[in-house]
């Protein structure tokens, strides 16, 4: 095991490591099926420095620290993942879990669109709700999680001017609203809101006062200009933008030997 920087890694592995590094022990986190990078990031944190994390998997709560290999599943409902369960998670009761569990959990929130304040939209594209140009799948749990979790990460596989837009057509999850560090407090929303935006190009955070999206680091091979060119609103760009911290050798070992044996994160 080694804290040295890995010599060989993919951008997806780097993104997973970034996620893992930001997750402290003790959090509760849902591990779903169809976002391999957040899944890997969460499990990496759990296996390397989060022995007291509570993993929500296939509607159970589990601790996977002692499991040698964590097979992925194709669907979130796959009951085969329940073999690790310490407790059931009855989905309809989640509204009763807000205080004791929800507010200690982190989430990954996706979207069809995001704006500069980290608000997101999963309803659809178009000015008229009754005549959408593109109908999305619906907000799922993102609107509530946006308010009722410790903090969340915006995660998208698509960084373009179509996803990062000047103005959302609809807001399904409230990020920083119209901006300002007290935006959420004024609304009475308890959760800390979006912390980072994780895309295939870069990591972004939110400037402390205005809560405008700010470039934090670019992934290897991506320039600041690449990010600007693919973002539909004016991003805050600091003078020096580092490259996203690479994974350590240990992280890569754990990823490849216990979490991602199939190599999904190694596919380009």
């Amino acid at each position: 095991m080694s804290a040295e920087t890995a010599k060989d890694y993919t951008t997806k592995e780097l993104m997973a490591a970034f996620i893992a590094n930001d997750l402290e022990d003790g959090l509760g986190i849902l591990v779903g099926a169809n976002l391999p990078v957040p899944r890997a990031g969460v499990l990496l944190a759990h296996l390397t420095h989060g022995p007291n994390m509570r993993i929500i998997i296939s509607f159970t709560r589990a601790n996977l620290v002692n499991e040698p290999v964590l097979e992925p599943f194709e669907f979130i409902t796959d009951w085969r993942a329940s073999r690790w369960a310490e407790a059931y998670y009855i989905h309809s009761d989640f509204i009763d879990y807000i205080k004791r569990y929800g507010m200690n959990e982190i989430f990954f929130i996706g979207g069809l669109q995001f704006d500069r304040y980290g608000n997101s939209n999963l309803i659809g594209i178009g000015n008229d709700y009754k005549k959408l140009k593109f109908r999305g799948p619906g907000g799922v749990g993102s609107g509530d999680k946006g308010a009722h979790c410790k903090r969340y990460y915006i995660y998208t596989n698509s960084h373009s001017k179509r996803t990062f837009v000047e103005r959302l057509d609809f807001v399904t999850a409230y990020g920083w609203g119209e901006g300002g560090r007290d935006a959420r407090k004024k609304m009475g929303i308890p959760g800390e809101g979006p912390r980072y935006v994780i895309t295939p190009l870069c990591i972004m955070d939110f400037e402390e006062e205005s809560k405008r999206m700010r470039l934090k680091s670019t992934h290897p091979g991506i320039s600041v200009q690449d990010v600007i060119d693919n973002t539909g609103f004016e991003l805050i760009v600091p003078e020096n933008v580092p490259t996203t911290t690479p994974p350590t050798e240990t992280q890569i070992q754990v990823l490849r030997n216990r979490i991602d044996l199939e190599g999904i994160l190694r596919r380009k």
């Binding site: 099926a33 509607f59 309803i123 619906g138 509530d144 009475g188």
Partner: protein, 301 residues
Amino acid sequence: MPQEMQRKKVVIDETEAAGWIKDGMTIIIGGFITSSHPMAILRRIIKNGVRNLTVIGSASSGLDVDLLIGAGCARKVISPYVAGEAIAPIGPFFRVAAERGEIDVWEIDESMYYCGLRAAAHLLPFMPWRGCVGTSYPEVNPDIKVFRDPINNETLLAVPAIKPDVAILHAAVADPYGNVQHVGTGFGDRAQHLAADKTIVQVEKIVPNEEIRKEPAKTSIVGADALVRAPYGAHPYSSPGFYIEDLEHLKEYVTAANVYAKSGDRGPFDAYLEKYIFGPKDHMEYLERTGIRRLFSLYEY
């Protein structure tokens, strides 16, 4: 024991159960995305040509709801999500029907979904909730009201009661008297039952009352109004403890639905309906068409 002192058995077949569902009713469907949808009954409802349903899906609805839309049964959809994870990021029929205004969508998120069901179970007009304050939900769904709470004057959402006429669920087992047990957590099935006027549950097996009494803590629904014996009744979706999803079938569905969504050609989807729904005379014939080899290939730990 005199006849009148016998407990009433509530087992009926899927044809009779589907007959409960009439044009214009509001149904709520159990399961979650790709698991535990009461497909044997839903297929029969489609076969019956029921129209203008208000379809309340599960908290994350799967392609079960999409199928009802595609088959022309749904006029209004209440669901926080209609899709199939990686198989179908958006339900193909849901998408085009919503875009064209062929269905109304009563837009909510998962928390409001359960708040609305709770309000119905509580016989209350609404339940307050804070999640989604500041979002577009009250604009796109004007039934959701922004209000100030009577204790602290905080800004909250009033989520109206969601009141299904009939809940249609799929579970593992039940005794003939309506005591139902799930394998697994049962997702939101309990909440759906508690909000509905009537509940129909299709199960993999009917078991003796003694089996239920061995583990009473597992009983998830007491007093189902009707039970349908439907082994493999959730197919092509999974049934925890019994079988996993039939990926091949799901892909067949999505492919056919996408042809229509992209080109307007209903041919492949009509063929799908004929093959799996209009053709088979009942659930058993549906399973015969699927084939025993396929069915048992899904029979994994």
